[in-house]
């Protein structure tokens, strides 16, 4: 599909509160449909530019299409359908999840965390050994 048209449609749908998963899917399916229409037109001998123009016309006006998506509340995101509740629930959910953030970050970066802990332990052991050697040397001399 004509990329600017597609980007505009995506942006408009997201701005209008359509759930991101529906936006992604609608755009992907339109893109594939557009390619099929272009192939069909090229099969009849049209050059690429003409085939793309015809395909875009067949798909329909992108503003009307956006209106058709936005007119279906079941495709809108939860927050767009209930904005007043979302304003309360989202901050509360963020606060509730805050104590778990270090744990989540730890799990997400488990390999790095394991390396850092191993390094800290190793440097601790080396430092303790040096201090022990120094202490012994002071004691024995």
């Amino acid at each position: 599909m004509s990329r600017p048209e597609l980007s505009r449609l995506r942006a408009r749908l997201l701005r209008s509160g359509v759930a991101p998963r529906h936006v992604k899917r609608t755009v992907a399916e339109l893109d594939a449909h557009f390619d099929d229409l272009v192939d069909e037109a090229r099969g009849t001998g049209a050059d690429r530019a003409l085939a793309e123009r015809q395909a875009l016309e067949q798909l329909g006006d992108m503003d009307l299409l956006a209106d058709a998506v936005c007119a279906r509340p079941e495709l809108r995101s939860w927050a767009a359908n209930y904005p007043r509740i979302a304003v309360i629930v989202y901050p509360l959910a963020c606060l509730a999840i805050l104590p778990a953030v270090p744990l989540i970050a730890g799990v997400a970066n488990a390999s790095n965390l394991a390396r850092w802990i191993a390094c800290a332990l190793l440097s601790g052991i080396v430092t303790a050994t040096i201090l022990l050697v120094l202490q012994l040397s002071i004691t024995l001399t």
Partner: protein, 114 residues
């Protein structure tokens, strides 16, 4: 741009989609071609408009979808569920009733004043 249908066509795309998908699973482009064929091009949709209709039908449980890679492209195939079959039956009965009523009104002489 593609011709759009008047407002009284509301609900017709859903009925056609359910009817066609009752026969076999299809993807969007295939469905548009089938609608053209079975209606002898009497119904012309902006082709993109079927996607919100398909997504709504899937969301309310009338359809289910699955992705299939075909010829280097990923197609989303839709098929009817048991709920979709029930919905098709309801919509078909509604449509026949409305169609019968309108036909009767058109055939009844009189009542029309110039």
């Amino acid at each position: 741009m593609a011709q759009t249908n008047p407002p009284f066509m509301s609900g017709v795309p859903e009925l056609l989609l359910l009817r066609l998908l009752a026969q076999q699973e299809m993807y969007g482009y295939e469905l548009v071609r089938s609608i053209r064929k079975v209606t002898a091009e009497a119904i012309s949709l902006g082709e993109g408009v079927i996607y919100p209709a398909l997504h709504s039908l899937e969301r309310n449980g009338s359809l289910k979808s699955k992705r299939k890679p075909v010829g280097g492209r990923t197609r989303v195939y839709y098929s009817l569920t048991a709920k979709g079959r029930r919905r098709l039956k309801e919509l078909s009965e509604d449509w026949r009733r409305v169609q019968g009523g309108v036909a009767m009104a058109l055939e009844t002489p009189g009542h029309v004043q110039a």
